[in-house]
Each structure stands twice: as structure tokens, then as C-alpha cells.
Symmetry: C2
Subunit: 713 residues, 2 copies
């Protein structure tokens, strides 16, 4: 698929990487014996001095919540008032049918609140719409604290189904369908995925062939692989389907387009030519009726083509304002970007719920009597270091991701809200947004899976019981890592975007210009504002290893547990993450180039660097998240809130670097001593944050009863 | 609890560690400039030469299965004949009541096979018993390929309930209850865990107070914390309970003992004074009726005390052949060791099932058309590197763990079968076995959780559907990491055992003797049979870092992907794991000593090294598993089976070292270049094993239909 683009990307960026390697080698030459700057004094920003007075962390949870709530705080507050605690209670004891019924009922209960209307254009809905993609996305996140079957069904109906009519349809579709779809008088589904192809939408098999004689489209599933699969709302409730199919007119294919196809009559029976089956029981989300659809030459009128970006005239002439089919395809799929941001948001909400339950439990539950303690004196679970390490870094990451997610939503709003209101999509910003959304969806859903696993285990047997909700949260969110795009595929999408950006950043520059560009880029990565010193510093890290070994031996004798204060210097933290971001990308470009030169075919090139591609995407996200969260924290007015959040960011970043220390050590970017300090620092941070864990949970702003767990009630 | 023992452990072993540090420092002195032996030629054992002719890996699955089946192959074959494929089909669509009914029916269907009798003594069951703990454990593992609710219910009835009567009871109990319990005429439960205390059995609150006037025990739950919780069979089926309670006679406490308490009448109604409630729906295992029991002054005759290790005379006089109460407690709990080995076995079975499903699916499922491939040519999922890295190392680990588990079972059989047949327990071997069983239970259950998560994600949306079974396997096994002992607690149990062994190994030796002991121990760890050279070698790794940096830069230019052949030298692999095993333990002992000397209380000492304690236990297990599997492989007759299994062991070990490379790099034990070679080697091994993945799955020996998954049928 990607071989042509990536090969050329490799070709153009590789010279860069050659130079990069050159620079690195020079640096190695000149740096011998240079003192290790990174072991020297850091720039020590306010709030990062170590140790900090514990009192400084005792922030008012409401002040912290104000920062975490971000730009759409008013939307969050409204949801806090309207989502009943009952919706947050476990439902996994219900039968599939009962759960589906309850979920649809609750979906209808949302309508009176009007909160389902945020994301639609007032102009397209007779004044109903709220004209705000941002508000819609944030409201979806809040709904993610309720039963996730309700959340996902809401996403299917309003986000995917009605959202496609809004985004891909024109006035005639808006007038005829949109108001009913928004107000639930018309339930529908989003029929894109097929049995044969999950992530490869461009090659789906369903066809919509125009019949000039009758002015109809014939929608057909050519074989078992073309069967629409895992389609939410299809098994029970949907009457109308937005079907993604290969559009064919006059024997010519025009790529994937969306067509409206009725699948059920008023009585709920499948219409002629439409075969509907039920996907049955699932690991979770059993309140959502996922089904399969097979079309046998189903005819729909020409008007059913959602024709904002591609039109078919009565005589079958195809026209489009977007002449490039590839560009047209991505514009059509542009509607998906909001869905990915929403899934990331729901995943973050679920992770917060699960961690809040586990932390609350760990604050109450005693396990063993305290050794050497008074008779009957016991230790609560959260006093144990292993328990702190299990939960607190993930709690910190949840807060940090919340700050970053607010920026993703803002970017989504900035780029897509004008399109909602009728403007033409801007390919550039849209592409960048899609890459960011793809990566963050992967990052947040992986975070949810990991957080809920730790939360479950941290609650022991209690975590296994439905009454304590974590079981259902796990089951419901587990699919998030693979739907709306498999995470591994999405990370590669981001990685390829970064490669092309990297190439563009060097376009036109000659060899020297490239050299300069790379040197600068390396220098930036190494040193922020003070290049020469720190470039030496980074390599100095390596040459001091022998003395470091001795120091370590002595240090061992002293057995001191104090970590180097510089680890808490935000400038150092960002420098480390940003260096990794740059370095993984440049080495990726080089490896691809070498392979292409060696005559490897496109598939082999991409396949052999696939893990590297994912790594580069991850490194980029980690750096971007830290930068974004740091900026958000420094904007906070309340000082104690700044200090506490800053500590959580320290814990998040140092846990990341600790987990990836092998990578840094391999490249001599940190000394062994510094690497071991990381573990000391993470332990120390856990101990320092531990007394404030419930304060952080409070700052998530989950109203009374929203945890829906017996052990946390 | 552990402060006295651990502090003294620290005190005694610390001198060792001091010396260790000394030696390390000396080594650092002498080694300057020495060539890095680990970068030199390895000892190149047969079957480890790289690259190997791919044909050599094309082993006959039956030959590989013969090795994996191990010592109790005949038990496995019998189970393959008797467990119907239907029992392996998903059951998570069933209602709780229906699932419980089906599970009990199937339990009764096991009786005619006689396979439930392996683990009982013929002498205690009127000739029914098979007199083999080993056979019982292996049969339990095979049952782990069926619906795990059935597996666990079998474990509750035969392993825990009937097993306790067998192990802790005497002739009168065996005669009166055992035959009925074995043949399911008497269903029972094992009432140990309490709401207030999960892992802390010594401090459970339920009391059994002897009444001399009536010659009865009064069983009572003093408060909500004393409620028996998560008790399998208690919610629906059990009529008799083995209740663990604090035994009190003549106002004196004698610690935890087991008493038989009837809880339901023939009609299934709770008996007077017994309150039974249902734990309700769970994340999985819904075919098992977990419940809660509260006793209100329930009276049972004196004979109901299971009195093999502690007796109460009519007048209330307490006697025991084991005078030390602590020793008595651990002897009473000795019965649990088999349960832990069984849970590890079931976890391994579930991991194999899940990976078999995912690998089979990945061999069939095409995702994208092959870039630059012929029209319609597609790539199957398993051709992708990220997919290989996701599944193949776990597939390899499953085979490796199977080889190690066979040794655990053999050890279990050797130590406990004589006790089954009437001999007195041997404290020493029992303690070692318990430590090993605790660690392996944790290792295997964590492996199952991780494998099933990867398997689920690797199957995408299909993995989320109940019809493909992975969903249920995940839900059922998730609790394994925390029941029969929380994994983190179990790993600490092993860690403490290793500390005391370490101390004992140096007992009595003077300072010089200790120094010698440590030097030798270090030398062994460093170098196997060639100490001096390799001691230098290990430290040489560090001092060559600068040149390594240059080499790396040049290597980058060359962009060669060949990993150093020595990585495939089993001697090198074991040396690396064994060094970590030794080093983590010695540094742990030192840290504890320093803290104790600094006047820290026992709790703080243990808590601050808790993560280190778990690390040392893990390092020990990893080395032991590799040694054990290597020995098993070299015993194999079929050469190709040896080569394939040896490759799987390479993949298992190198994935481990790659994951922990940060630790090795921190200590300068491997060079950055060697560290990066690890990733290259793991990628290469994945590519080499990939064509044989289904061969490995076949070697698991799962009969037709046992996968129970639509996508793998």
C-alpha cells in the first residue's frame, strides 16, 4: 500500500540521517573527557526543586479540577448535573436482551437534556444543533463515566450515523433525515467494516452500482468477505444504514462513497434483499446490538448517495470538487477523526473511573498487621510500595493525558468546526489532526487497558466481582484498542505522517542546508537553548561510565537513596523525551533508505521497520504530551494546583523514561548511575504523591455515585 | 509480620554483600582495558549456531509434543480421549444459573472416567484413589483446556474440599466423608478466605471454641471482617464446609485449624446459625457459585476437627506432634501448595488455548493487499513483524514454561506424594517446594493474562466476540493472578525464601570463608567454567563503551542487521540470567542490612525493598526456568524437535533479556551494541520461527475442537 510514498520519503530524508550520523560521530570525537553536563546542575524551574515541602502538594481538589476540566468545563459541569449515578452502576449481570433494552431507554432519556445536539449544525437541523464539535467530544467523554454500552450506542447513533449524514450529506439529506436521527425518531447504523477487511477501508468489497435506466443505486455484497460486520445498532435497532461501498457509474469505479440504505421496516423486520444477523454475546458492551449485514442487489434512489464530495447525475455522470480520488477518499473518511478522538476520550474516562475505584479501595483496605506496630495496627494497601507503583504512576498519567486531550479536542474543534458549519476541509491541517488523533487514540486506549488491569489486580478478588464494576469496565473497553482503527495500524499512520513532515522540513535545502538543518535539529534536541555545552554533555554521559561504576560501588556502600535533583528539572525531562522523538525518527528514515537502496521491495522495507515506525510514533506522542501538559500546568492560576500537577507530570515522565531506560542507555544518553536514580526518583515520587492520591481522584470531578462500585461507595 | 526474620536475614547476609561489593570494585580496578569477552567468541553449542538451516526447524509436531508432554504423557493422552470438545465451547452467553447448572452436570460426567481419583490415597478411599499427586496435577492442567468454570469447580470440590479432608483429616474422617466427597455424593467447599483478610491467613478472625461441657466446637464469625468470602461452591451446591478458624480450648488459642461444618441440608437450605449469600456475577468463572458464609455460634461435634496435625481430647486438652505453632500453621497450609501448582497449570493451558486461536487466525486472515505484490495478493497477519512480535515470543514462552512446569510437578510429586500415602511432611523440602510453587504460580498466571490480552488484540474485533472464546478465557483467568495468593505477595514469599537460603549457604563460614564463597559465587555467575577470563569480560563490557559508540556509529552507516552469533550461545544466555539472579539477591541483602543498621523498623525495611524483593524472585525464576527447559530439551531424542525447541528457548530468553536490558546496561554487563543486537536477534528469531508457528501449536496436542473458537475451527 504505502511502498511508493514511503520509499520516496526514505530516499529524501535519508541524506539527512547520513549527516545526522556524521554529526553524532564528530561529537563522539570531540567530547572525550568532557564533563557530563547532564550530571551537572539543571536549570531548576519553580515547582521542580527537590525535595519539595509536602504541604505544597495539599492543593484544593477544586482548583486542580479547574485545570483538568480545561476549555469545556461548562460542558462537563452540565453533564455532572444530568447523568444520573444509576447509569454508572454495573449492568453485566443483565441478559443481552435486557441490557440492550435498558441501553436504548437511557439513550432516549438523553434527548430531553439536549446534550446530544452539541455537535450538529443549527443550520442543518432547523436550529437544534449546538454548532460545537468540541462540546460534543467533551460531553462524550463525560458520558464515558456511565455504562459504556450507553456511551458507544450514543456514539454509533449520533456520532457515526447522524454524523455521517451531517458531514457527507447535503441539504436534501439534512432536511429529510437529520432532525429525526438527532432526536431518535430514526435509528441507524454506520456500515463500513467488512468481514474480510477491518482496517483496510479503501479495499472494501461492497458495491453501489448506478443503474441509469431506473436512476437507482444497486447495493450489493459480492461475497462472504463483503459482509458488513460488527455494525453497532444493526442487530436490533437500526432502520437506516450509512453504507460505505465502491461507487460504480457507467462501468467506472470512483472509490468508496456512502449511500443511505433502509434495512428495517417500521415493525423492525429486515427489508427485502437485506440479511441481518446478530454478532451475539461479547466480552463487553453487550448493551450495543452489533450485527452483520449482507445486501443482495438492494436498490435505492439516486438521492440516497451522500453527495457532498461526489455527485452522480441522472445520466450517471460522476462529478466531484475533489479531482484526486485519493484526496476524495481521505476527505470522505475525514468524518472518522472525531470518532477516534471520542474513543480516546471514553477510554480516558474509563481509566479514571477504574483507578478512582482502586485508589479509594486501597486507602481503606488493610491487609497485614503492621510489623512492629501497635496491637491491631494495620497497614492500608496504598502504604505498600508495590501497590503505590502499581497505581500512582497510572493515576498521574491519567491527569497528564487529560491535559493533553484537552488540546487534541481544541485542535479537532479548530479544524473541523468550520467544516461542520459548511466550509471546505483544509487538507493540510486535517492530515495533521488525523495523525495526532490516531496516535492519541492508541495511547489513551492502551492506557485504559493497562490501568484497568492494574486496578483489577489491585482490588484482588473484589475486583473480579461485577458489583465492584472494574470487571465490566475492563470488558467494555478492551475492544477500544482495536476498533475505530487497530492501535498498531494507527501508530503506523502517525509514524508515516511524521516521516513525510520530516522530509518536507528539509525540502529544497541543498546538502549544506540539510547539514545545517540536522545539526540545528540535533542541537535543539540535545540542549534546548545551550547547544554546544549539552551536545558535549550527552556524550560525556558515556565516557564517564568507568568512574560512574566506581561511584556506584561507593554509593552502594553509602546506600543513599537520594536521586539527583536534576531529574526533577522539567527542562531536562523535556530534553530527554524530545531527543528520543527526533532520534527515533531520523534513524527510521535512514534504515528505510538503506533498505530501499539494497533493492528491498516496499512491503519488506515497511515490514522490517514496522516496530521502529511504531516506536517513533510513540516517542513523538510522549514528548508532545509532556510539552502540552507542562504548558497547561504553567497556565494554572492556583499555585498549589500547579505544584501538585507538576509532581504528577514528574511521576508520569520519569516512569516513562524509567520504562525506556534501556533505549537511552544503549545510546549512551544517560549514565548507568542516572538510570538507577530514575527508579529511586519514581519510588520517592510515589511516596510523596501517596498522601494526596484521593485529592487527585477528587480532582477528576466525578459526582457522588459515579464510581458505581460497592467497594468504593 | 516478617520484621524479625528478615532483619536477621539481612544482618547475616549483609557481610556477604559487603564482600561482594568489594570484589566488584577490585574487578573494576583490574579490568581496565581488558577486551570484552562477551563480545568475543562464545562456546557455540550444538543447535545454537546461527544462522541455522531453516529445514532443521521443520520438526514432526508429534516429536515435539512428546517432549512437551513430559513425564505424565499417559495422563494427558487419557484426558485427550475423555474431555469432549463440547466442554471447550464458550459458555459466557449463558445466564449465571444456567452456567452453574451445566458446570455441575459436567462435573458429574467426569466421575465415570475415574480421572478425578488420581490424587487420593487408595488406602483412604476404599481403593478408589490413584495414589498420584503428579497425575492429578497434570490431569487438572488438561481440564484447563475446557471451560475454566468446570476446571475451577473441580479444583474446589476435589482439590480443596476433598483434598483437605484427605490431607488434614484422619481415618475417621476418611471413612465417613472421603468416598462420598470424591464421587460427588457430598459436595463441599473450602472456607478459608475472609472479607477482612485475603492473603493473611494467620490472622483470620473466625473462631472454633471447644465447649468441654458438650464436647462440641462452637464455630463463630465475630464480625463483618470474619465473613468467609469468595468461597467456591458456597452459593449453591456445598453441603459441608472445611472451615479454617482460630482453634480455642480452655481459653487458649492454638492457631488456625480446619473444622468440618455442615452448612446446608439435603434440600439445599442453609442450616440454623449459617447465613449464606451469593457473590453474584463475576468477570468470569460464572459456572462456579462463589458465596459468603457467616457463622452464628454454630455447634459441631469434637470429631469434626480435622486432627491429623492437632488433636483436642474430650476434656479439651490440646495435643500436637508439631510443638512449634508456626511450624504447625505452615504444615496445615501445606495442602495449599498443590492448589498453587494447579492454578499455574490451568493458566498455562488457557494461555496455550488463546495463543493457538490467535496464531491460527493470523495464519488465515489477510488484512491489506501486498505492496508491490500481484493483483489480489494479500499478506496474512502473521507476516507482519509487529504481529510476529506480539504473538511468537509468548508462543515460545508457553512451550518453555511447559517444560519447566513438568519439573515443578515432579518436585511436587516427590515431596508430597509420600505425605499423601501417610508419611510425615519433611519441612525442608516442603518449604523449598512452596517457594517454587508460589513463584511459578505468579509467573504462569501473569503469562496467561499477558498472552490472552495479546491474543485478543491480535484477533481484532473477532477477538471481542464470545463465539471466538478468547473473551471468556480472558475473563475466567483474570482472577488467577490474585487468588490462591496474590502474585505480588507470592513473589515476596519466594524472595524471602531465597534470602534465607542465601544466608544459610554462608552460615558458619568465617570472613575469609565468606569472601571465598562470594568470590566463587560471583565467578560462577560471571563465567561458568572459565572464571578469570569472563570476570574481566563482564567489566570489560563497560570500559569499551566509547569504542562501542564509534562502532555503533559506523555500524549505523553499514546498517547491517546481523546479530552477534554469541547471543545464540546457550552458555552465554544462562550466564546472563544467572548473573542477574545472583546479583539482585546479593544487592537486596545489602540494602536490607543498611536499612536495619540505620535503625529502620521492620516494616519500613521490607516496604522500601519490596520492589527489589519481587525483582530478585523474578530473576531467580527466569534463570531457573531457562536452566530447566534447556536440560529438558537436551534430553529430547528427536534432533529436529531439539532444534525447534531450542530456537523457542532462544526466543524466550532473548526476549526476556531484551525486556530487561536496561538493568544489564545500568550495570555495564552488556555493551550498548550488544543490547541493540538483542532486538535484531528477537526480530530475526520471530521471522525464523514464523513458518513453524502452527507446528508449535500442533505440538501443544490439543484435539480437534478443543480450541472452541469459530475463527479457529
Amino acid at each position: 500500500m504505502s511502498s511508493p510514498t514511503t520509499q520516496s520519503a526514505a530516499r529524501e530524508s535519508s541524506t539527512t540521517a547520513d549527516v545526522a550520523a556524521g554529526v553524532a560521530a564528530e561529537v563522539a570525537e570531540t567530547a572525550d573527557g568532557a564533563p557530563s553536563r547532564l550530571d551537572g546542575q539543571g536549570e531548576g524551574e519553580a515547582g521542580h526543586v527537590w525535595p519539595v515541602d509536602p504541604e505544597q502538594l495539599a492543593a484544593d481538589p477544586r482548583a486542580v479540577q479547574k485545570v483538568l476540566d480545561g476549555r469545556w468545563a461548562h460542558v462537563r459541569d452540565r453533564a455532572r448535573d444530568t447523568i444520573p449515578a444509576q447509569w454508572c452502576e454495573p449492568t453485566d449481570h443483565l441478559s443481552t436482551e435486557e441490557h440492550r433494552r435498558v441501553t436504548l431507554e437511557r439513550l432516549r432519556d438523553i434527548v430531553p437534556t439536549g446534550e446530544h445536539r452539541y455537535g450538529f449544525a443549527a443550520s442543518a437541523t432547523g436550529g437544534l444543533g449546538g454548532d460545537s464539535v468540541g462540546a460534543q467530544t467533551v460531553n462524550f467523554e463525560m458520558l464515558g463515566h456511565a455504562d459504556l454500552s450507553l456511551t458507544i450506542k450514543a456514539g454509533v447513533q449520533w456520532g457515526l450515523f447522524a454524523g455521517s449524514i451531517q458531514a457527507l450529506g447535503t441539504a436534501k439529506h439534512h432536511e429529510r433525515y437529520l432532525r429525526d436521527a438527532v432526536e431518535l425518531d430514526l435509528l441507524g447504523c454506520f456500515a463500513m467494516t467488512e468481514t474480510g477487511h477491518g482496517s483496510d477501508v479503501a479495499n472494501l468489497r461492497t458495491t453501489a452500482t448506478y443503474d441509469e435506466a431506473t436512476h437507482e443505486f444497486v447495493v450489493h455484497s459480492p461475497g462472504p468477505e463483503a459482509r458488513k460486520d460488527y455494525i453497532g445498532n444493526a442487530a436490533r435497532d437500526a432502520r437506516l444504514a450509512v453504507v460505505y461501498a465502491q461507487l460504480v457509474t457507467k462501468g467506472e469505479r470512483h472509490g468508496v462513497h456512502a449511500v443511505l440504505v433502509p434495512i428495517r421496516d417500521e415493525a423492525g423486520n429486515a427489508l427485502p434483499g437485506v440479511t441481518l444477523t446478530d454478532c451475539g454475546r461479547k466480552m463487553g458492551l453487550n448493551g450495543v446490538d452489533n450485527g452483520r449485514i449482507v445486501f443482495d442487489q438492494v436498490r435505492v434512489p439516486r438521492e440516497n448517495l451522500l453527495d457532498r464530495y461526489g455527485q452522480v447525475a441522472e445520466d450517471g455522470t460522476y462529478t466531484s470538487s475533489i479531482t484526486n480520488p485519493n484526496a476524495r477518499f481521505f476527505t470522505t473518511l475525514g468524518a472518522l477523526v472525531k470518532g477516534r478522538v471520542c474513543i480516546g476520550a471514553a477510554a480516558l474516562a474509563a481509566a479514571k473511573s477504574g483507578l478512582a475505584i482502586a485508589v479509594t479501595h486501597a486507602e481503606r483496605r488493610a491487609q497485614f498487621p503492621k510489623a512492629g506496630g501497635a496491637e491491631g495496627e494495620e497497614v492500608t494497601l496504598l502504604d505498600y510500595r508495590t501497590h503505590q507503583r502499581r497505581l500512582l504512576p497510572l493515576l498521574a498519567s491519567s491527569a497528564v493525558y487529560a491535559l493533553a486531550q484537552d488540546d487534541v479536542v481544541a485542535e479537532l474543534h479548530r479544524v473541523t468546526n468550520p467544516v461542520l458549519l459548511g466550509a471546505a476541509p483544509a487538507p493540510g491541517p486535517q492530515k495533521a489532526l488525523e495523525a495526532r488523533a490516531a496516535g492519541m487514540k492508541a495511547l489513551l486506549t492502551w492506557h485504559a487497558t493497562r490501568s484497568l488491569q492494574e486496578a483489577r489486580e489491585a482490588c484482588g478478588g473484589s475486583g473480579f466481582l461485577s458489583e465492584n464494576r472494574i470487571a465490566q469496565l475492563k470488558g467494555d473497553t478492551d475492544v477500544f484498542t482495536t476498533f475505530e482503527g487497530d492501535n498498531t495500524v494507527l501508530m503506523q499512520l502517525l509514524g508515516k505522517h511524521l516521516l513525510s513532515e520530516h522530509r518536507d522540513s528539509l525540502k529544497g535545502a541543498g546538502k549544506i542546508g540539510q547539514a545545517k538543518a540536522v545539526t540545528t535539529s540535533l542541537v535543539d534536541a540535545y540542549a534546548g537553548r545551550t547547544p554546544a555545552r549539552a551536545v558535549a554533555g550527552f556524550v560525556g554521559e558515556v565516557v564517564t561510565d568507568i568512574s560512574a561504576l566506581r561511584q556506584r560501588t561507593e554509593k552502594k556502600q553509602g546506600a543513599t537513596d537520594d536521586a539527583d535533583p536534576e531529574l526533577f528539572d522539567r527542562a531536562w525531562q523535556l530534553r530527554v523525551l524530545e531527543h528520543r522523538e527526533r532520534r527515533t525518527l531520523e534513524s527510521l528514515a535512514l534504515r528505510m533508505r538503506k533498505r530501499a537502496q539494497a533493492g528491498q521491495d516496499g512491503f519488506t522495507v515497511m515490514n522490517e521497520v514496522q516496530d521502529h515506525l511504531v516506536l517513533a510514533a510513540r516517542a513523538h506522542l510522549d514528548a508532545w504530551v509532556a510539552r502540552t501538559a507542562d504548558a497547561a500546568i504553567s497556565r494554572a492560576e492556583d499555585e498549589r494546583a500547579r505544584v501538585l500537577l507538576s509532581r504528577l507530570l514528574d511521576l508520569h515522565v520519569l516512569s516513562l523514561v524509567e520504562a525506556e531506560r534501556g533505549w537511552y542507555l544503549e545510546r549512551g544518553l544517560i549514565t548507568p548511575g542516572r538510570s538507577r536514580d530514575l527508579t529511586t526518583a519514581v519510588n520517592a515520587l510515589c511516596a510523596q504523591v501517596r498522601p494526596h492520591a484521593l485529592r487527585v481522584v477528587d480532582a477528576f470531578g466525578l459526582p457522588e455515585g459515579w464510581l458505581g462500585a460497592h467497594i468504593a461507595s
